[in-house]
Amino acid sequence: MTAMTVRRMTWATWYKHRFSVVGIPAVFLLPALALFADGVVQRHYLSVHHLNGCLVANATTGGSSCVSGAWVSFIRPSPTPNVIAVAILALPVLAGLFAGVPWVARELESGAFRFTWTQGTSPRRWLLGTFGPLVLLAAVSAAMYGAAAYWWYQIAQWQAGTSIWSWRWSSFELTPFSLAGWTVLTMALALLCGVVIRRVLPAMIAFIVTLGACVYLSQTWLRPWLFGIGTAAKQVSSSTSAGWPSSATTYTVRTWFQTPGGQRVSGWPAVNNVSAWLAQHHYTYWVAYQPHNHLIWLELARNGILITVAAFAVLASVWWLRIRPAD
């Protein structure tokens, strides 16, 4: 599409979907503003009470004081931070459900798409020109929202848990990258469901099912698979914490015994004194782990995969529209 076409389609989309164009950023940015304001208040409290060290990712040493500080700071019921964190993750889903699916499906259902298609615009331009501004707007809004959520949860997690662990789910999901990645995927799946089904309500149901499958696969297969890639290995003690990587900053993927010949042995020996047994057989105990600096790359890889799936969903939508342009 030429720059002129993009500009024309963007204007047309603005005239057609003005409410959604304003509504989508509002849905993301208003909660972001609330989280930001809350974060400012909490950080002020931490600063006044000299608890700024709590914001360091591996500050397990300040654990108890941070927890007590947060408990005093948050005058809310205990589960609130995690409840809010889950609600934060629900927002991309809601955006896909209530903005993404009807965005195209409603035009197809009402027949209004024929207006655009007979005004010098091809179905593909209509689809991409309608979807492009939406997904761009939603992704940018979600990234800003993710930044606010990440910033807010740095303190909020002290109330929800007892220590900061950089590999906890919130560190992976409540980031600008993840929220933008999930938002792009939800919008693309919403587009695909809308184009294929062409009825708003059934498309909404299909969207929930499809997205649910994607979330399930992401959590049960993709994430464990990614966490197993590029691990570092280290010989550690089987009985003490000596040599073990920091539990606050690393993610343990697996452990194993190793024979003097370098052969890996899984399982745990059925003996009382494992250390003595290891020494007797000249076995060593190893751990494979993800170092702290891998977190950002794994997060980017996961979100890259989400966006790739989203790109396939968009391509599938374009293809479907080409073979079944209109009913």
């Binding site: 298609w117 007979t118 005004q119 342009p325």
Partner: protein, 258 residues
């Protein structure tokens, strides 16, 4: 002209809204749906596709944004003549007003060809006359060609210069209206003579009423014993529709496949 014969499918294929499962179509020398065709062809079907949640002004602005060529003055003058305000919600307009709005936007693109599928179905008789008059003006002043599909033959009689009759997805008749009217006659004569008439002229359809018969024949002169008079377009079209197997003038290469 009957329902379900494929005229909407044909017009949607020509407008680039649908693709034929077999065969090809060409419109103004280009493939339907190609950039060249989209730039020069406007279409409006009986569903009157509009964004009904928009206001008239926004609907016009969206149309203007979508088109490289847009005659804002034409749209403004037409809406003004119709007494339509830009602040009105499209969905709140009457069916006739919506059709007029859609037609205005189809013409404001300054197309070379306008495809209209039952465009007047929702209009009252006065509005129909108004739209037909406006269309004729556009045809005369802007060299616009219009493909007009309708069940109402009287409408076609006013404006059509070329007639295509579709039946069961096939072209039954395709020729200029003048040539069709010149080459067909309505014959009146004895019902007993109808069988012999088939050997003398090309009979399109024959209706017997008691001893008399009314025959639509493709002929330039009346056979002996039969009284002839010129046919009207309505008689011509209905005659062919009664006999789907009958083939009139013109080419019949087109087959519409859903």
């Amino acid at each position: 002209m009957r329902t379900g014969v494929g005229k909407t499918t044909l017009l949607r294929i020509l407008a680039g809204l649908a693709t034929p499962t077999t065969g090809t179509a060409t419109i103004l020398g280009a493939a339907p749906g190609s950039p060249q065709a989209r730039a020069t062809v406007s279409a409006m079907d009986q569903t009157v596709p509009l964004y009904r949640h928009l206001r008239v002004g926004d609907q016009l602005a969206a149309a203007r944004a979508l088109n490289e060529q847009w005659d804002a003055d034409l749209a403004k003058q037409r809406l003004s003549a119709l007494g339509m305000t830009t602040s009105a919600r499209v969905g709140k307009l009457s069916g006739g007003q919506q059709a007029q709005l859609a037609l205005t936007m189809a013409l404001a693109r300054r197309p070379r060809l306008l495809l209209l599928d039952e465009p007047l179905a929702s209009l009252d008789p006065l509005a129909r006359q108004d739209v037909l008059g406006w269309l004729m003006t556009c045809v005369a002043e802007d060299s616009l060609s219009v493909v007009f599909s309708s069940h109402i033959i009287a409408e076609l009689e006013q404006i059509a210069s070329y007639l295509v009759v579709l039946s069961a997805g096939q072209i039954q008749v395709a020729a200029t209206v003048d040539s069709l009217l010149d080459t067909h006659l309505a014959l009146t004569g004895p019902a007993a003579g109808v069988d012999d008439l088939y050997n003398q002229v090309e009979v399109v359809t024959a209706q017997r009423a008691g001893r008399q018969a009314l025959v639509l024949a493709r002929t330039g002169a009346a056979p002996p014993g039969w009284a002839a008079r010129p046919v009207t377009m309505e008689e011509l079209v209905l005659g062919y529709l009664r006999e789907p197997a009958a083939r009139g003038a013109g080419e019949s290469r087109l087959e519409i496949v859903r």
